[in-house]
Assembly symmetry: C2
Homo-oligomer: 146 residues x 2
Protein backbone atom coordinates (compact mmCIF):
# COMPACT_ATOMS: atom_id res chain seq x y z
CA UNK A 1 0.00 0.00 0.00
CA UNK A 2 1.20 3.50 -0.72
CA UNK A 3 1.77 5.68 2.30
CA UNK A 4 2.19 9.30 3.21
CA UNK A 5 5.79 10.31 3.71
CA UNK A 6 5.54 13.76 5.24
CA UNK A 7 2.53 15.08 7.12
CA UNK A 8 2.30 18.83 7.73
CA UNK A 9 -0.18 20.02 10.34
CA UNK A 10 -1.22 23.65 10.39
CA UNK A 11 -1.68 24.43 14.06
CA UNK A 12 -3.16 27.55 15.58
CA UNK A 13 -3.58 27.80 19.34
CA UNK A 14 -7.34 27.53 19.47
CA UNK A 15 -8.94 24.98 21.74
CA UNK A 16 -9.26 22.66 18.77
CA UNK A 17 -5.60 22.84 17.73
CA UNK A 18 -4.77 19.84 19.86
CA UNK A 19 -7.27 17.70 17.95
CA UNK A 20 -5.64 18.66 14.64
CA UNK A 21 -2.13 18.06 15.98
CA UNK A 22 -3.09 14.72 17.50
CA UNK A 23 -4.75 13.49 14.31
CA UNK A 24 -1.65 14.44 12.30
CA UNK A 25 0.55 12.62 14.80
CA UNK A 26 -1.55 9.46 14.53
CA UNK A 27 -1.43 9.52 10.75
CA UNK A 28 2.30 10.17 10.68
CA UNK A 29 2.92 7.24 13.01
CA UNK A 30 0.60 4.89 11.11
CA UNK A 31 2.36 5.84 7.87
CA UNK A 32 5.86 6.01 9.36
CA UNK A 33 5.97 9.50 7.91
CA UNK A 34 7.84 12.62 8.92
CA UNK A 35 5.74 15.12 10.82
CA UNK A 36 5.91 18.90 10.84
CA UNK A 37 3.85 21.19 13.05
CA UNK A 38 3.55 24.63 11.52
CA UNK A 39 2.23 27.73 13.19
CA UNK A 40 1.95 30.93 11.21
CA UNK A 41 2.01 34.10 13.28
CA UNK A 42 -0.32 36.54 11.62
CA UNK A 43 0.09 40.03 12.94
CA UNK A 44 -2.07 42.85 11.71
CA UNK A 45 -0.77 46.16 13.03
CA UNK A 46 -3.32 48.70 14.26
CA UNK A 47 -4.19 51.09 11.48
CA UNK A 48 -5.34 54.66 11.49
CA UNK A 49 -7.22 55.76 8.43
CA UNK A 50 -5.88 59.29 8.78
CA UNK A 51 -2.37 60.39 8.06
CA UNK A 52 -1.06 60.42 11.60
CA UNK A 53 -0.13 57.11 13.22
CA UNK A 54 -2.04 56.70 16.46
CA UNK A 55 0.39 54.14 17.78
CA UNK A 56 4.00 55.02 18.35
CA UNK A 57 6.37 52.57 16.65
CA UNK A 58 7.82 51.41 19.95
CA UNK A 59 4.40 50.24 21.08
CA UNK A 60 4.23 47.72 18.27
CA UNK A 61 5.02 44.17 19.39
CA UNK A 62 8.47 42.96 18.64
CA UNK A 63 8.48 40.40 15.81
CA UNK A 64 11.17 38.26 17.43
CA UNK A 65 9.26 38.24 20.69
CA UNK A 66 6.05 37.08 19.02
CA UNK A 67 7.88 34.35 17.13
CA UNK A 68 9.61 33.15 20.30
CA UNK A 69 6.30 33.08 22.20
CA UNK A 70 4.65 31.10 19.40
CA UNK A 71 7.57 28.69 19.31
CA UNK A 72 7.24 28.12 23.05
CA UNK A 73 3.53 27.38 22.71
CA UNK A 74 4.19 25.00 19.81
CA UNK A 75 6.85 23.20 21.87
CA UNK A 76 4.43 22.99 24.77
CA UNK A 77 1.75 21.47 22.50
CA UNK A 78 4.17 18.94 21.01
CA UNK A 79 5.35 18.06 24.52
CA UNK A 80 1.80 17.52 25.76
CA UNK A 81 1.19 15.10 22.86
CA UNK A 82 4.57 13.43 23.34
CA UNK A 83 5.26 14.14 19.69
CA UNK A 84 9.00 14.08 20.10
CA UNK A 85 9.53 13.32 16.44
CA UNK A 86 7.71 16.44 15.19
CA UNK A 87 9.64 19.14 13.40
CA UNK A 88 8.42 22.52 14.63
CA UNK A 89 8.17 25.51 12.30
CA UNK A 90 7.01 28.99 13.20
CA UNK A 91 6.57 31.45 10.35
CA UNK A 92 5.61 35.09 10.20
CA UNK A 93 3.04 35.77 7.53
CA UNK A 94 -0.39 34.81 6.27
CA UNK A 95 -1.73 31.32 7.05
CA UNK A 96 -3.52 30.90 3.72
CA UNK A 97 -0.48 31.24 1.56
CA UNK A 98 2.18 30.12 3.96
CA UNK A 99 0.66 26.73 4.75
CA UNK A 100 0.69 25.86 1.05
CA UNK A 101 4.18 27.31 0.57
CA UNK A 102 5.62 25.44 3.53
CA UNK A 103 3.97 22.20 2.44
CA UNK A 104 5.84 22.49 -0.83
CA UNK A 105 9.07 23.54 0.86
CA UNK A 106 9.19 20.50 3.15
CA UNK A 107 7.78 18.16 0.50
CA UNK A 108 4.63 17.31 2.45
CA UNK A 109 2.22 14.94 0.73
CA UNK A 110 -0.55 15.48 3.28
CA UNK A 111 -1.64 18.71 4.95
CA UNK A 112 -3.83 18.41 8.05
CA UNK A 113 -5.84 21.49 8.95
CA UNK A 114 -8.80 22.37 11.16
CA UNK A 115 -12.10 23.21 9.52
CA UNK A 116 -15.17 24.90 10.95
CA UNK A 117 -17.50 24.25 8.04
CA UNK A 118 -19.14 27.14 6.31
CA UNK A 119 -20.86 29.62 8.52
CA UNK A 120 -20.91 33.28 9.35
CA UNK A 121 -18.37 35.43 7.63
CA UNK A 122 -16.34 32.53 6.23
CA UNK A 123 -19.36 31.70 4.10
CA UNK A 124 -18.54 34.85 2.17
CA UNK A 125 -14.82 35.14 2.58
CA UNK A 126 -13.76 31.52 2.60
CA UNK A 127 -11.58 30.00 5.30
CA UNK A 128 -7.95 29.04 5.59
CA UNK A 129 -9.04 25.42 5.06
CA UNK A 130 -10.75 26.46 1.81
CA UNK A 131 -7.67 28.22 0.57
CA UNK A 132 -5.41 25.29 1.40
CA UNK A 133 -7.83 22.85 -0.23
CA UNK A 134 -7.80 24.91 -3.39
CA UNK A 135 -4.14 25.63 -3.67
CA UNK A 136 -2.22 22.77 -2.09
CA UNK A 137 -0.69 20.36 -4.57
CA UNK A 138 -1.06 17.44 -2.18
CA UNK A 139 -3.85 15.73 -0.24
CA UNK A 140 -5.61 17.79 2.43
CA UNK A 141 -7.32 16.40 5.51
CA UNK A 142 -9.82 18.83 7.00
CA UNK A 143 -10.37 17.91 10.63
CA UNK A 144 -13.80 19.05 11.77
CA UNK A 145 -13.40 21.23 14.82
CA UNK A 146 -16.69 23.05 15.07
CA UNK B 1 -4.84 6.51 19.60
CA UNK B 2 -8.29 7.36 18.34
CA UNK B 3 -9.20 5.86 15.03
CA UNK B 4 -11.71 6.27 12.25
CA UNK B 5 -14.57 3.78 12.42
CA UNK B 6 -16.32 4.24 9.10
CA UNK B 7 -14.71 5.64 5.98
CA UNK B 8 -16.99 6.76 3.15
CA UNK B 9 -15.37 7.31 -0.26
CA UNK B 10 -17.25 9.30 -2.88
CA UNK B 11 -16.32 7.61 -6.14
CA UNK B 12 -17.06 8.82 -9.64
CA UNK B 13 -15.76 6.87 -12.61
CA UNK B 14 -13.12 9.33 -13.73
CA UNK B 15 -9.58 8.13 -14.30
CA UNK B 16 -8.73 9.37 -10.83
CA UNK B 17 -11.53 7.53 -9.04
CA UNK B 18 -9.28 4.56 -8.44
CA UNK B 19 -6.80 6.74 -6.53
CA UNK B 20 -9.58 7.98 -4.24
CA UNK B 21 -10.97 4.47 -3.71
CA UNK B 22 -7.53 3.03 -3.04
CA UNK B 23 -6.64 5.72 -0.51
CA UNK B 24 -9.93 5.15 1.33
CA UNK B 25 -9.26 1.41 1.37
CA UNK B 26 -5.79 1.93 2.86
CA UNK B 27 -7.13 4.22 5.57
CA UNK B 28 -10.00 1.88 6.41
CA UNK B 29 -7.60 -1.05 6.76
CA UNK B 30 -5.08 0.92 8.85
CA UNK B 31 -7.92 2.02 11.14
CA UNK B 32 -9.78 -1.29 11.07
CA UNK B 33 -12.76 0.76 9.97
CA UNK B 34 -15.81 -0.05 7.91
CA UNK B 35 -15.60 1.12 4.31
CA UNK B 36 -18.35 2.34 2.01
CA UNK B 37 -17.91 3.22 -1.65
CA UNK B 38 -20.63 5.60 -2.78
CA UNK B 39 -21.40 6.60 -6.32
CA UNK B 40 -24.08 9.18 -6.99
CA UNK B 41 -25.67 8.97 -10.43
CA UNK B 42 -26.41 12.50 -11.48
CA UNK B 43 -28.69 12.66 -14.46
CA UNK B 44 -29.69 15.96 -16.00
CA UNK B 45 -32.43 15.41 -18.58
CA UNK B 46 -32.21 17.36 -21.83
CA UNK B 47 -34.24 20.53 -21.55
CA UNK B 48 -36.04 22.61 -24.10
CA UNK B 49 -36.58 26.20 -23.16
CA UNK B 50 -39.83 26.31 -25.17
CA UNK B 51 -43.06 24.66 -24.23
CA UNK B 52 -42.77 21.58 -26.40
CA UNK B 53 -40.51 18.75 -25.26
CA UNK B 54 -37.93 18.01 -27.95
CA UNK B 55 -37.22 14.57 -26.54
CA UNK B 56 -39.94 11.97 -26.38
CA UNK B 57 -40.27 10.42 -22.91
CA UNK B 58 -39.30 6.96 -24.14
CA UNK B 59 -35.93 8.30 -25.26
CA UNK B 60 -35.00 9.22 -21.71
CA UNK B 61 -32.66 6.72 -20.09
CA UNK B 62 -34.25 4.30 -17.71
CA UNK B 63 -33.40 5.11 -14.10
CA UNK B 64 -33.10 1.48 -13.08
CA UNK B 65 -30.81 0.77 -16.01
CA UNK B 66 -28.50 3.65 -15.10
CA UNK B 67 -28.35 2.56 -11.46
CA UNK B 68 -27.60 -1.04 -12.45
CA UNK B 69 -24.84 0.07 -14.81
CA UNK B 70 -23.29 2.27 -12.09
CA UNK B 71 -23.51 -0.58 -9.61
CA UNK B 72 -21.69 -2.89 -12.05
CA UNK B 73 -18.91 -0.32 -12.50
CA UNK B 74 -18.60 0.16 -8.75
CA UNK B 75 -18.39 -3.62 -8.27
CA UNK B 76 -15.76 -3.79 -10.97
CA UNK B 77 -13.71 -1.05 -9.27
CA UNK B 78 -13.98 -2.72 -5.84
CA UNK B 79 -12.99 -6.04 -7.44
CA UNK B 80 -9.94 -4.51 -9.11
CA UNK B 81 -8.79 -3.15 -5.75
CA UNK B 82 -9.64 -6.41 -3.98
CA UNK B 83 -11.75 -4.39 -1.58
CA UNK B 84 -13.96 -7.27 -0.64
CA UNK B 85 -14.96 -5.64 2.62
CA UNK B 86 -16.37 -2.50 1.00
CA UNK B 87 -20.08 -1.77 1.22
CA UNK B 88 -21.25 -0.48 -2.15
CA UNK B 89 -23.94 2.21 -2.42
CA UNK B 90 -25.32 3.69 -5.59
CA UNK B 91 -27.68 6.64 -5.23
CA UNK B 92 -29.66 8.70 -7.67
CA UNK B 93 -29.37 12.40 -7.00
CA UNK B 94 -26.89 15.23 -6.61
CA UNK B 95 -23.37 14.45 -5.43
CA UNK B 96 -23.00 17.61 -3.34
CA UNK B 97 -25.88 16.95 -1.04
CA UNK B 98 -26.01 13.19 -1.21
CA UNK B 99 -22.42 12.57 -0.16
CA UNK B 100 -23.03 14.52 3.04
CA UNK B 101 -26.43 12.89 3.59
CA UNK B 102 -25.08 9.38 3.09
CA UNK B 103 -22.11 10.08 5.35
CA UNK B 104 -24.56 10.89 8.12
CA UNK B 105 -26.80 7.95 7.27
CA UNK B 106 -24.03 5.37 7.56
CA UNK B 107 -22.34 7.18 10.47
CA UNK B 108 -19.10 7.88 8.60
CA UNK B 109 -16.47 9.79 10.54
CA UNK B 110 -14.25 10.33 7.49
CA UNK B 111 -15.28 11.21 3.95
CA UNK B 112 -12.67 10.71 1.20
CA UNK B 113 -13.24 12.66 -1.99
CA UNK B 114 -11.26 13.66 -5.06
CA UNK B 115 -10.29 17.29 -5.46
CA UNK B 116 -9.06 19.17 -8.50
CA UNK B 117 -8.06 22.37 -6.75
CA UNK B 118 -9.55 25.63 -7.84
CA UNK B 119 -9.45 26.36 -11.50
CA UNK B 120 -11.75 27.18 -14.38
CA UNK B 121 -15.42 27.26 -13.66
CA UNK B 122 -15.13 25.66 -10.21
CA UNK B 123 -13.30 28.79 -9.14
CA UNK B 124 -16.65 30.53 -9.42
CA UNK B 125 -19.11 27.79 -8.70
CA UNK B 126 -17.26 25.71 -6.17
CA UNK B 127 -16.70 21.99 -6.50
CA UNK B 128 -18.26 18.92 -4.94
CA UNK B 129 -15.20 18.71 -2.66
CA UNK B 130 -15.88 22.29 -1.52
CA UNK B 131 -19.49 21.54 -0.75
CA UNK B 132 -18.62 18.40 1.18
CA UNK B 133 -15.89 20.23 3.11
CA UNK B 134 -18.37 22.90 4.11
CA UNK B 135 -21.31 20.76 5.03
CA UNK B 136 -20.02 17.40 6.29
CA UNK B 137 -20.09 17.03 10.05
CA UNK B 138 -17.05 14.78 10.03
CA UNK B 139 -13.46 14.92 8.80
CA UNK B 140 -12.91 15.22 5.05
CA UNK B 141 -9.86 14.01 3.15
CA UNK B 142 -9.49 15.70 -0.21
CA UNK B 143 -7.31 13.50 -2.42
CA UNK B 144 -5.56 15.60 -5.02
CA UNK B 145 -6.37 14.22 -8.43
CA UNK B 146 -5.44 17.01 -10.81
Amino acid sequence: MSRYRHVLAAVDFSEAAERVARRALEIARRNEAELTYLHVVEYVPPLDLGYEPVVAPDWLPDEEELLAAARARLEELAGRLEAREAHLRVEWGHPRGDVVRLAEEVGADLVVIGSHGRRGITRLLGSTADAVLHHARCDVLAVRIG
